[in-house]
Amino acid sequence: MSPGNEKEIIKRIRDGETEAFSALLRQHQDKVYSLIAQIVSSHEDAEELTQDVFVKTFKKISSFRGDSAISTWLYRIAYNTAISATRKRKQVFINLEEKVLNNIPDEVVDDLLNLENDEKLLQNIKEAIEKLKPDEKALISLFYMQGRPVNEIASITKLTPDNVKVKLFRTRKKIAVLINQAQYEAR
């Protein structure tokens, strides 16, 4: 769907044509669901939260000014909704000390995260991702899975682009540390 097309759809929704929302929903539902499922780690909760996100979007559509793409705005609503839901659950996440993260050289992280044919490693990465904090999961999901540029991720998460880069870098390191720990425990 082109940006011009999306503007036309938004105009129709604002003019009272509710059915026009269907096109917007079809276009974004899978990606929004995927992002939320990654953050909350529960498919049932993710489905409910995705519904909430689209109802919120419909309610707020008259306040959408068009400064950013509709997808950015939609992702921002999805990100905030999912993060709020995880806060309510009060889950405990692993906090790694700065020292531990600094102990692992960048080259080791680069090498480790590029071994794409090692099935055991892929399983370890999957388990490491599950142990990340919700905002860290959101960052890697937006960057690696959805292919969003850093500037857009900054707009979605309300961080600066530099902060996004730093957080992504640290999250990669955290994944590498968690993989090393898992491999050490398996021996």
Binding site: G16, L25, L113, L121, Y144
Partner: protein, 122 residues
């Protein structure tokens, strides 16, 4: 950081599927929300129209009394037309004046609201 092939591959394997009927379920909720919004707008329009009408009427009376020295009540009191139904004619004149004023304002406000973006007809 741009590469991280193993990380990308792991994440690409995570493709959760939305349950069947999700789209219809959400659209049902959207239609319900649209109906609610219409009702809310309708109530809001009535409240705004009522408040504006009352303020305009009160303002008109205040202006006539205090700035133009035109006392409507005195004029009505001065009229001494016998009534067969018990109520004074001044009452009917006063009521018809108010009704005409409110009908006029109602017509104007409906036109303004219809022109506004995203508002349903009242």
């Amino acid at each position: 950081m741009k590469q991280d092939k193993a990380l990308r591959k792991t994440l690409s394997q995570f493709e959760p599927q939305l349950p069947f009927g999700f789209h219809d379920k959400v659209m049902k909720k959207i239609h319900l929300e649209a109906e609610l919004q219409k009702k809310r707008n309708y109530i809001l329009d009535i409240l705004v129209a009522g408040t504006v009408s009352f303020l305009l009427f009160a303002g008109a009376i205040y202006t006539l009394n205090n700035y133009l020295g035109y006392n409507i009540l005195k004029i009505f009191q001065g009229l001494n037309i016998p009534s067969q139904h018990g109520l004074p004619v001044s009452f009917y004149i006063c009521m018809s004046f108010i009704v005409l004023l409110l009908l006029g304002m109602d017509f104007k406000l409906r036109q303004i609201i219809k022109k506004g973006p995203g508002k349903g007809p009242v």
